[in-house]
Amino acid sequence: MVKVTVKFFAVGRDITGSDELMLELPEGTTAGEVLIQVKQRYPAFEKVAALLVAVNLDYADTATVLYDGDELAVIPPVSGG
């Protein structure tokens, strides 16, 4: 098993009600699989268009395999500036 921190921001934090959660996942789990889990747990994410994922501070493909200690962030559409 690998331990991964999942971080939420903005509308994502509003939906989950928390900044982050810790997940224990089978080895080989991908970023995309985590995103699916998150959407199942919090169906309101389905209403957020174009959700991206970052792994360890970089935007990541959904096929990215997660390792122990990784930080995955769920990135709603950005609106800085």
């Binding site: 971080k7 921001f9 903005a10 509308v11 934090r13 509003d14 268009a49 970052a54 501070l57 970089d58 935007y59 962030a73 990135i75 709603p76 559409p77 950005v78 609106s79 800085g80 500036g81």
Partner: protein, 144 residues
Amino acid sequence: MSADDFAFNLITDRPIDVQALIGRVAAPECGGLAIFIGMVRNHSKGRTVRHLEYEAYPEMALKKMNEIALEIKSKWPEVSKIAMIHRTGKLAIGEIAVAIAVTTPHRAEAFTACRYAIDTLKSTAPIWKKEVFEDGDVWASAHA
């Protein structure tokens, strides 16, 4: 090359001081300095804005800003220094949300690089804006 060599990037919850920003990029060999400042507008999509709240994923936003600085230096090697500051927290109308300054020996590249920096920051940096109206609030999803 590290972004630290020529870039000063910051995510801060304190007001942005443009004069201090200029001090970060001023260089005796550089005559041209372009600055972009994004301020809080009093309306959005026809609605009256009361204030804004900015939130960042600060470690990643800073990493993106450093990447943007390196990318600019590689696209426009003439660029001498660049500084990007984005504010977080509650901002009133007219307050500065973001400020970007670029110095170059000649002015054409300063404008081009500054424009590129704000466009890229707005589309890639993990920063979010909540628009607080008289009758509710919404996380902005467009980066117009």
